[in-house]
């Protein structure tokens, strides 16, 4: 579910930094042209200004789609959602997806959190798919005593 | 360096490991367990660089004993994973210290309270392990058993070990896998060393 308006970008619009700098903004709302040495020296810029904005990732997704790379485009759309997630939380979620790191309910909760807290339905879908496969392949965390005795696989 | 082509040579010293019963948890605080892999001194008799398993054991035992520490040998039969072998040995060791070793020579010093995938010292490059190194590994394990913090045995590195030994190591690993006896617990073994005539 990609809510960004389609800008009709095609392969000919790449690279955006050369052909369409006017479309590029930092997550803090500055135009990319504001990222100058003067601004660095005067202390106007912070590390936040050197991050990619979700809109930019959706534009890159369009370019990937236009170049016949649907999987790459999907990756960019998941990434667009993830821009809202703090660094430490991203790492924690990654660790939660490792084999036998999370129980079924924990993964369900993670998916839920991605959807509600971070408006990240595509990422949530990936986590739900993982949970289903992990259950079938015995890759969920062994349930702690007392929790969900029905979670055993086939 | 000229190495004449040969067929496989016979080791001068041999060892037979006789099973004496299921391995149990040691009661002496001053012991080190040597845990050998399924094919060690059995299906295989030498490391990847032809150090006889008899010499490996003799040197490890000598290194342990020179520190005034007792040694016990067990064979782990249900896995060829060095970390698992070493950790199994560590949990059975009265001191909690174990030297685990694979047939090809790869060696690890483990401690029972560490995570299975962790270790005290790891010697991953089996082609670089010779008798003096095994003796030092034994001595270090014994010092850990006494609660000391020995200087780790210096690990050597050889850029060209990969082209020379990587595939043979993989092959030896596969063979060791074939000797795994699933579901069978570790056993205590008694070594009997013998000098074979070289002719």
């Amino acid at each position: 579910m990609d809510t960004a308006p389609t800008t009709g970008l095609t392969a000919a619009d790449y690279p955006l930094s050369v052909r369409h700098p006017e479309l590029l903004h930092t997550p803090t709302g500055k135009p990319i042209t504001a990222l100058t040495m003067d601004a660095v020296v005067s202390g106007e810029l912070s590390a936040e200004d050197l991050r990619i904005a979700p809109e930019t990732l959706r534009m890159q997704a369009e370019l990937a789609d236009a170049s016949g790379r649907p999987q790459l485009a999907s990756n960019f759309r998941r990434a667009a959602e993830m821009t809202a997630i703090p660094d430490a939380a991203v790492l924690a979620m990654y660790n939660a997806l490792r084999p036998r790191a999370s129980s079924g309910p924990q993964l369900a909760e993670l998916a839920e959190r991605l959807e509600t807290e971070f408006s990240a339905p595509v990422c949530a879908g990936l986590v739900r798919e993982a949970a289903e496969v992990y259950a079938r392949r015995n890759l969920l965390a062994r349930p702690a005593a007392g929790s969900d005795p029905t979670a055993a696989g086939d | 360096m000229t190495t004449p082509p040969t067929t496989s040579a016979q080791p001068r010293r041999t060892v037979t490991l006789t099973e004496t019963g299921p391995a149990t948890r040691g009661t002496r605080r001053d012991e080190v367990v040597i845990a050998v892999s399924p094919a060690f001194a059995g299906h295989f008799t030498r490391t990847i660089v032809d150090v006889p398993h008899a010499e490996v054991l003799r040197q490890l035992l000598a290194g342990i004993e020179e520190q005034g520490v007792a040694a016990r040998i067990i064979r782990v039969r249900d896995t060829a994973d060095l970390a698992a072998i070493s950790h199994t040995g560590a949990r059975l060791s009265g001191s909690g210290i174990c030297v685990g070793i694979l047939s090809r020579g790869t060696t690890m010093i483990h401690q029972k309270d560490l995570a299975r995938l962790s270790n005290l010292e790891l010697f991953p490059q089996s082609p670089l392990l010779d008798e003096p190194v095994f003796r030092r590994i034994g001595a270090n394990a014994a010092q850990y058993a006494k609660g000391e913090s020995p200087e780790p045995v210096p690990t050597r590195n050889d850029q060209m070990a990969r082209p020379r030994w990587q595939a043979k190591a993989a092959l030896l690993h596969l063979k060791e896998f074939e000797c795994i006896e699933p579901g069978r617990g570790p056993v205590e073994v008694q070594p009997a060393f013998e000098l074979s005539s070289t002719g």
Partner: protein, 570 residues
């Protein structure tokens, strides 16, 4: 020689010729017989599955002879994400010979081939490349490489983790032509200082070179997020479920990680290679290439833009079995023919034989790949903390000459010594100034002088390691970022270097480097498979080594002048 010599009994007399042959470095390499039942076989195994695919209700329900209920997680991920469901049955039922012929036929465009390969199963892809000999594999690579212009990647590391050395060798490497530079550590805690040194050295040598620091996943991502490194590559994937789990990951955790990198604007590729599964004892009886094709499709399904493959750290395994290097060439081709950027190996010590080392690289160097080496050692091999590469600094002139002899572009060029000394000196001074600006451990003038003329880490004054490690920790504790590096360089008077680095950092705001096979040119234009798409269509088309670039590559250390044969061309 540090190895323990095998014991040998007295032997019968040998001929003098046998003795000479035995003494050749070649015979220090190890070779083994195949064992297909255990997966110790390159690409021709009776135990690999036959291709098949069945689609029901828009979903793949059978893959290479296995029903969905029996899929392991690789099958599931590939069926769900990598294969184009709409064309899967049609493409997989095409005769393999027809697809193989398309790969080498200049009349079939790259896009036409991609329209077929996107619907192929792993076993079908194996079936196709099994029909191809090495020359055909190279022909396929020439057309299927994603980026039109080939490039190369270098390693800049130090046996002592000396940041000044890493900076100087990065500068020289960048000047010589590497589009990407990678480092790693002996002592991991040194990482922040060495990663900074790599970045500074690279931007001195040639603005726009991309850098990375190979570490465990979390730290590597953190350095990237801070803008100290520009891309990442050591994200390993494996071809069997059991080995993947041993690596403490799944296709879903890795796919999540891929998006995490993109969400920070950081270029990233996965790493895999033939031999890793059998080396870890869990090849499940499948050939090395079949398992690698599963990795390639997993990477494709994750939506990562590229892959480092070509056996990589397991090269000793395929290198030891018959046809092993053909399989390695084929795995690079498969990455390219499913439209991934391919950083094609040649990055680990491979052979004692110089002839064999060269032969190993031909299937990548001749057709050209996105990165011919995914790590040519830009330091002497004893300083290479990736355990040595197939080529190192001693091979620079040989590499340049081979490029000139065969008129192929391997991404490097000969550079005059005065230019190199200047770049090395400037890199060391820039780092000296930056460390002073950031209150990091001091670099002496003596060290700068050493860096200018050094060959290896032995040629530098020893650093105070404990002080350095404290400084490295301070980089993390103080939360220093790429922006602090820019500021420090600017304040220290290295305006051009600061500007180069800022331009690289600015790129992550645009996301242009996230597209397939992207690099930055010397004028900071992102060059990727979109705006530099490989348009090979037979003789006279595609990338040709010509014009200004060819003039560059004609230069060597010693070329007698035609104008005045008593002098050499400068």
């Amino acid at each position: 020689m540090t190895e323990t010599q095998p014991r040998r009994d007295p032997q019968p007399r040998h001929s003098l010729r046998t003795e000479i042959l035995e003494a050749r470095p070649m015979n220090l390499d190890g070779f083994v017989e195949e064992w297909p039942e255990k997966g110790l076989v390159a690409m021709e195994s009776d135990f690999d599955p036959a291709p098949s695919v069945r689609v029901e209700d828009g979903r793949i329900v059978e893959l290479d002879g296995r029903a969905r209920a029996d899929f392991d997680f690789m099958d599931t991920f590939i069926a769900n994400h990598a294969i184009d469901v709409a064309s899967a049955e049609r493409c997989t039922s095409m005769p393999s010979a027809q697809i193989a012929r398309m790969l080498i036929d200049p009349g079939a465009s790259r896009d036409e081939v991609l329209a077929v390969t996107r619907g192929l199963t792993p076993a079908k892809i194996l079936d196709v490349v099994k029909l191809m000999n090495v020359v055909e594999i190279m022909q396929g690579m020439q057309k299927m490489r994603a980026r039109r212009t080939p490039a190369n990647q270098g390693h800049s590391t130090s046996a002592r983790d000396n940041p000044i050395q890493v900076a100087a060798d990065a500068a020289e490497g960048a000047l010589r032509g590497f589009a990407e530079l990678e480092t790693t550590l002996g002592v991991l805690r040194y990482a922040p200082l060495v990663a900074i040194a790599l970045q500074v050295g690279a931007q001195v040598g040639r603005g726009g070179v991309l850098t990375q620091c190979a570490l465990e996943e979390a730290t590597e991502l953190e350095l990237g997020m801070r803008g100290i490194t520009a891309y990442a590559e050591t994200i390993s994937i494996y071809g069997t479920e059991s080995v993947f789990i041993d690596g403490d990951d799944t296709p879903w955790s890795k796919a999540f990680l891929a998006s995490a990198y993109a969400s920070r604007g950081i270029k990233m590729r996965f790493t895999s290679g033939t031999g890793s599964e059998v080396q870890m004892g869990n090849a499940e009886g499948k050939s090395m290439l079949y398992l690698e094709i599963r990795c390639i499709l997993m990477a494709k399904g994750a939506g990562v833009q590229g892959l480092q493959n070509g056996s990589i750290s397991c090269i000793g395994v395929p290198g030891a079995v018959p046809g092993g290097l053909r399989a390695v060439a084929a795995e690079n081709l498969v990455a390219s023919m499913v439209d991934l950027e391919c950083a094609s190996g040649n990055d680990q010590s491979f052979s004692h034989s110089a002839m064999r080392r060269t032969a190993r690289a031909m299937p990548q160097l001749l057709p050209g790949t996105d990165f011919v080496c995914s790590g040519y050692s830009a330091v002497p091999n004893p300083d290479n903390m990736f355990a040595g590469s197939n080529f190192d600094t001693e091979d620079y002139d040989d590499w340049n000459t081979i490029q000139r002899d065969l008129q192929v572009d391997g991404g490097l060029r000969h550079v005059r010594e005065d230019e190199i000394l200047q770049a090395r000196n400037k890199a060391a001074r820039a780092l000296q100034t930056l460390f002073a600006q950031l209150d990091l451990p001091a670099i002496t003038d003596q060290e700068v002088e050493a860096a200018t003329y050094a060959n290896s880490s032995n040629d530098y004054p020893l650093r105070d390691v404990l002080t350095d490690l404290k400084g490295a920790q301070a980089v993390m504790d103080r939360g220093l970022t790429g922006l602090d590096l820019v500021r420090g360089l600017e304040a220290g008077g290295f305006h051009d270097v600061a500007e180069n680095l800022l331009t690289v950092l600015r790129q992550r705001v645009s996301g242009d480097l996230l597209q397939t096979s992207a690099v930055l040119t010397a004028d900071f234009t992102p060059l990727s498979a979109i705006n530099d798409a490989n348009d090979y269509a037979g003789p006279g088309t595609g990338y040709r080594l010509a014009g200004e670039r060819w003039e560059q590559l004609k230069k060597l250390r010693h070329v007698t002048s035609a104008t005045n044969p008593e002098t050499e061309v400068r």
